[in-house]
């Protein structure tokens, strides 16, 4: 199983966190490199557009309670999890990966709530990702994801 990248979007549709893990073969020396800034924000926008449209379509077809979980292309699989507070977690993995919905849920419960929400100094609104990029959250996320791979 390979995890390519991970995104969090807030209820204002803004990407407040993005992280990519390069495939093992490329990352022997620099284990996790940030995305290139220019393409990264475009990627994030595209990804949000995709999941948001899909989510709305799914709701129209299957009712308000229906939620889409993942989709797969020839190259990757996208996993989606949305909290009732409209926080959206997205993860891109290789095509063979099983459902990551539970993983995303765990990230929300054990990392997001514990390290971002409960940090009293972090702002409530994470404009431009403010308050998300803290050491505990990033470290926890990295360990968690690497543990899966």
């Amino acid at each position: 199983m390979v995890v390519y990248s991970f995104y969090i979007f807030d209820r204002h549709t803004e990407c407040i966190y993005a992280r990519s893990w390069l495939p093992q073969s490329l990352s022997q020396h620099h284990s996790s490199a940030p995305l290139q800034p220019s393409t990264a924000s475009d990627d994030a926008k595209l990804i949000f557009g995709t999941v948001f449209s899909l989510r709305n379509m799914v709701r129209k077809l299957g009712g308000e309670d229906d939620a889409f979980i993942s989709y797969r292309t020839g190259n990757y699989k996208m996993h989606f999890y949305e909290t009732p507070a409209n926080l959206r977690f997205v993860m891109l993995t290789d095509t063979g990966t099983m459902s990551m919905r539970n993983v995303l849920h765990q990230i929300y419960i054990n990392l997001w709530v514990e390290y971002v929400v409960k940090n009293p100094l972090a702002p409530v609104e994470h404009k431009n990702g403010a308050g998300v990029k803290n050491e505990l959250f990033e470290l926890g996320l990295d360990q968690f994801i690497r543990g899966l791979m």
Partner: protein, 192 residues
């Protein structure tokens, strides 16, 4: 979800997933905050109410996430009635270990009351007898803000205020909560 099930969930989470803290610590901490506000605003109780509500609002914005995480809520409530039950039997249960009664619904199901038989914030409290606090200060007003903030995050705009308080000599402590509207999803900005 039936209200019985809500009680069970609340009970279960309270027993297994909540770190407990001494009540007096909570009571005294909250009391200190209220008294300090009264001092800071020169006993302008209207203003103190407002500040408490604001503080609660900021707490609510965060607390909802903890609530969702602890209660493992994956779905929205299907009706405002269900929301009310979840607030009383899960929310209040897991954070304050109390279960206010949900009553006095209006016919359109958009307004209800929470009646507090117990209120850990108000233990030991006696309002100052300056002739105004009894009329003007809503001692536990922070709770109104908490509900307002928390529900806003799950796309419900509500208005909440206390209409009676045992501290003022009323028979019950009652909070009125009204649903103003459901907030729509925010859309991504149009690309030019």
């Amino acid at each position: 979800m039936s209200s019985n099930k809500a009680s069970r969930i609340g009970e279960e989470i309270w027993k297994t997933r909540i770190d407990k803290v001494n009540t007096e610590l909570v009571t005294l901490t909250y009391g200190t905050i209220v008294v300090q506000l009264c001092k800071d605003y020169d006993n302008d109780y209207e203003e103190v109410n407002k500040q408490l509500d604001k503080m609660g609002y900021n707490i609510g914005l965060r607390l909802i996430e903890d609530y969702l995480a602890k209660s493992n809520t994956m779905k929205r409530c299907t009706s405002f009635r269900e929301t009310a039950d979840m607030i009383a039997k899960v929310g209040f249960k897991i954070f304050l270990n109390i279960t206010p009664q949900v009553t006095n619904w209006t016919n359109d199901n958009n307004q209800f009351s929470l009646v507090f038989d117990e209120n850990p914030f108000a233990d030991f409290v006696e309002l100052p007898d300056d002739g105004r606090a009894q009329d003007e200060l809503w001692y536990s007003n922070i709770l109104c803000g908490v509900l307002r903030g928390a529900l806003e995050m799950v796309q419900m705009q509500v208005e909440a205020h206390f209409i009676s308080d045992v501290l003022k000599g009323n028979d019950t402590t009652e909070m009125r909560v009204s649903l103003l509207r459901y907030i729509d999803d925010e859309l991504p900005p149009e690309d030019d």
